[in-house]
Symmetry: C2
Amino acid sequence: MTTRWLSPKEMRAWRAYVTATHLLEDALDRQLQQDAGMPHLYYSILANLSDEPERRLRMTDLAERTQITRSRLTYAVARLEKDGLLRRENCRWDKRGSIAALTEEGMAVLERTAPGHVETVRTFLFDKLSEEQVEQLEAICSGIAEGLQEARPASDDVPWRRRSSPSCS
Amino acid sequence: MTTRWLSPKEMRAWRAYVTATHLLEDALDRQLQQDAGMPHLYYSILANLSDEPERRLRMTDLAERTQITRSRLTYAVARLEKDGLLRRENCRWDKRGSIAALTEEGMAVLERTAPGHVETVRTFLFDKLSEEQVEQLEAICSGIAEGLQEARPASDDVPWRRRSSPSCS
């Protein structure tokens, strides 16, 4: 198959994308490490739990929401549990379907850290974009995310998915 | 200061951005680990060297191009040198201003791996975008990158920068 190399225009867009995304991730990690002692990935796990009415999610659903691979999520959750920011609970319908629940301390860390995190996101992302560009960014990223979600390999990245078991929430 | 929380529209764009960028980085890492035994970050170091007429760059300039922080770049370059894919050389004007040079083996790895890498970028990014969206993506990412480059902290992220020393290339 002939390689479909990037055009000069695509190459410019690609380089800008790589630079922007890496610098933004560095800036988010730096702020969160400083204010909460954790990288962006860990913060997003806690934030997803806090969005739930009971502040708890099955690991399956947490993996879906955060789109984190099985091995990374297992490691991150163990670390957050060790720090007392979440705890693991068993699901009464399905012992294997473990649940992650945000602790009071985890919630307190989030509440203390969220303003600085949002300020970083606003300063480096949304303050640079027009209203129209916010819509363009959502359309572009939704399209990319959909394609990648459909193509994820079954081996690593469909963690704990058991559609047949009842909900535990 | 009152926190400027995200609007629902901004929140949607932010969630799509986080999901798309994390999934794409995972897909790129997976392909490059499989085909070249290295993550995307390492590949981009080799690719930047290969773009140069003499396939070599001062560490200062390599840091500028790749926008990798000092500690990560030092580690990555040491690892790539150990694998025989690049070598460090001294700059004749400035002994501290070490140079990274791509080896023949490094170039061979790049040539073998580039088609698969470009195919991944095309499949998961450019095939999902219209011509117009490619331009929008470049404009959005250039704006974000500029703001972040201006704001980088002097402590960590201005690696090896000595503007007074002459060029070594």
